[in-house]
């Protein structure tokens, strides 16, 4: 405790001693330059967001994610250049001053903006660890959707219901991040089907495979699998397949269900008789 308070005292003392040398002379010209730099960087950030979103929707699918994933890089570049320019404009950065400044900033931010700083640091970690990219379809907590923006503090998710949810980067330290496509165009889609125990499993599996192979959305280059499991209330079939575009996820599920149900109807298959005794869980 005494050692720590000693450090605080040292920084505070250094801060007082260096304050005159650290900050350069502030003139009207410098203030105008700074305002211009901030306005320009804001304009650039808005333009980057607009241009990347616009162009990624215009180019062929293959390049969509490539453009979207470059957003954090361009934004980061603009911020670093702007901050460096402002620091250079107003501060006299010798080695000693830099050390004192970082110490002071760390202390200030550490106490005053703890959560904000954690999110910014997590954002930098997220850039390197890449648990999500712009364009990925992720699930964080109970929220699922497409990452539409990668900001300094957090990301924005667009949910299937068209809601926009902002999630701080700091969640990567505490929550499991489920990413469906990890920077790829395709994401696996699981479609569930339920039948009575007595129904012909082989015939159902064959129809499910054919439904997947015949759907116009299916990416045939990726594997199609049917998983069967027995439950107390019936037989559960999971059809795992990939649409050519992860965005088609729900319309793809609908197409698979429509195609399969048509064939099941022709075969006269029976669905399970669910009573109040049996309740489906999320795992089903």
């Amino acid at each position: 405790m005494t050692k720590l308070s000693g450090y605080f005292y040292l920084f505070a003392e250094q801060g007082e001693e260096l304050s005159e040398e650290l900050i350069t002379e502030i003139t009207l010209e410098k203030i105008l330059y700074a305002i211009s730099a901030i306005a320009l960087s804001y304009l650039l950030l808005v333009s980057i967001q607009f241009l990347t979103t616009w162009s990624s929707e215009k180019v062929p699918r293959r390049y969509r994610l490539l453009i979207k994933q470059s957003v954090p890089f361009w934004k980061g570049l603009v911020l670093i250049i702007t901050i460096s320019y402002l620091i250079n404009l107003f501060l006299n950065l010798s080695g000693q001053n830099l050390l004192a400044l970082t110490g002071t900033i760390a202390l200030t931010l550490g106490f005053a903006f703890k959560d904000y700083t954690t999110s910014i640091i997590a954002g930098v970690v997220a850039l390197f660890e890449a648990p999500y990219h712009v364009g990925d379809r992720v699930k964080i907590d109970e929220h699922y959707g497409e990452v539409t923006d990668f900001g300094l503090r957090g990301i924005r998710l667009k949910t299937p219901d068209d809601d926009l949810i902002t999630i701080p980067h700091s969640k990567i330290f505490s929550e499991a991040i489920s990413n469906s496509n990890s920077g790829k165009l395709e994401a696996q889609v699981v479609t569930n089907f339920y039948f009575h125990h007595e129904e012909d499993t082989e015939a159902i599996i064959e129809i499910l495979y054919q439904a997947a192979y015949s759907s116009k959305y299916t990416q045939l280059k990726l594997p199609i699998v049917v998983i069967v499991s027995e439950k107390s209330w019936g037989t559960h079939f999971k059809l795992r397949a990939y649409p050519m575009d992860a965005r088609d996820e729900f319309i793809y599920q609908t197409d698979l269900t429509r195609r399969s149900k048509k064939a099941f109807k022709q075969m006269g298959l029976k669905y399970p008789n669910l009573t109040s005794k049996f309740e489906l869980t999320d795992a089903d």
């Binding site: 390049y63 395709e186 054919q210 429509r258 064939a263």
Partner: protein, 361 residues
């Protein structure tokens, strides 16, 4: 190398167009009645010699193998979806070199895709009828367009599964199949057709000299006065058509323009640098329709709707737009891709993560 030449010619063609506008001449397309006449004349031309030589050589060599090994009883000829294999293969079968062998076409009159679940039954009947009507011991059963006998829907390729088993298990007949390479690629994923029908010959790509030899009789008769650009013309035509005769024909027709000048009373012909027309902007649903048409070759609206898993009414409007844009054509209720747009549509679909055909080389 071919793509490099193609890129060079594309750049060159921009300058060529610029030159045409600078002289204040009005360039017009040939009148539709002349285009139809020219298309008819081209259709009457014999098949490009490279195509017939490749097909005949493959047939004779496969028949020889069949003599030695009864289970080597099949040959598949693959071509792009715009290739007219249904007319090309019958024209290239070397009838005069086949002694004591009957060539039968069991499915020539069948239109099966409207009822996909009945395809297998109808195929069985047609084959039995064709085989029983032949008096020869050796029979070559020709199916020039295999893609006409399946549909992308549940149960839609059961006929192909039955046929592949039947072919493998009937060594007493020789099977000559033609197929669109997009369909073949799909069928290989859906029912592993490559593992059964493994003897495959791909239709070759035509070189500039081969295209010139083939088209020259018509070309010379119409463009006698304009000879100076010819070597470069054929080179550009071969690269922009990707060596496919159907595309080359359309580009050739498109490159002949009528020059309307105020000074001269009569119109003159001008040969433009061959180039592919610009592809209009396509929506996601446009792409699904185009891919389905390419997958099935020529297809009716009803069957197309089945393949897309949509109601026919839902796709009518988009089909009309695609017809208006001339991306697709309609002949006797069958929809097909306009060959001149094929290279760019293929590229567009590839860039959008669609499954396209095998790359023919």
């Amino acid at each position: 190398m071919l793509s490099l030449i193609s890129f060079f010619h594309r750049i060159q063609s921009w300058f060529s167009h610029a030159e045409a506008t600078a002289t204040e001449e009005t360039l017009e397309d040939l009148p539709p009645e002349i285009l139809i006449k020219l298309e008819k004349i081209i259709r009457k031309l014999p098949a490009p010699p490279t195509y017939s030589a490749t097909i005949q050589e493959a047939i004779l060599s496969s028949l020889k193998n069949w003599e030695a090994d009864k289970f080597a009883n099949r040959l598949v000829i693959l071509a792009s979806p715009i290739s007219e294999l249904s007319t090309l293969i019958p024209r290239c079968v070397p009838d005069n070199q086949l002694k004591n062998v009957a060539v039968v076409y069991p499915f020539s009159d069948l239109d099966l895709r409207n009822k996909p679940l009945q395809i297998t039954q109808k195929l069985k009947l047609a084959i039995d009828k064709a085989v029983s009507s032949s008096h020869q011991q050796k029979i070559i059963i020709v199916i020039p367009n295999l893609e006409q006998f399946f549909l992308r829907c549940i149960g839609g390729w059961d006929g192909i599964i039955w046929l592949r088993e039947y072919i493998v298990n009937t060594p007493e007949h020789f099977w000559l199949l033609g197929c669109n390479d997009w369909s073949w690629h799909f069928l290989d994923y859906a029912c592993q057709i490559n593992a059964y029908l493994e003897t495959i010959v791909k239709l070759p790509l035509l070189e500039e000299s081969e295209l010139e030899t083939w088209l020259n009789p018509v070309h010379e008769s119409i463009t006698k006065e304009i000879q100076e650009k010819l070597p470069l013309f054929w080179q550009t035509l071969a690269s922009s058509s990707e060596g496919k005769s159907e595309i080359a024909t359309q580009i050739w027709l498109n490159s002949i323009k009528l020059v309307i000048s105020e000074e001269q009373e009569s119109a003159q012909l001008k040969l433009m640098t061959p180039s592919l027309p610009k592809l209009p902007a396509l929506s996601a649903s446009n792409r699904y329709i185009l891919q389905a048409i390419l997958l099935h070759g020529a297809i009716t609206r009803y069957s197309l709707a089945l393949s897309l898993g949509e109601k026919e009414d839902n796709i009518q409007a988009e089909i009309q737009i695609l017809l208006k844009e001339d991306l697709i054509q309609q002949k006797a209720e069958q929809l097909m891709i306009n060959p001149i747009h094929y290279p760019k549509i293929k590229q567009e679909l590839k860039q959008n993560n669609f499954l396209i055909g095998y790359e023919l080389s």
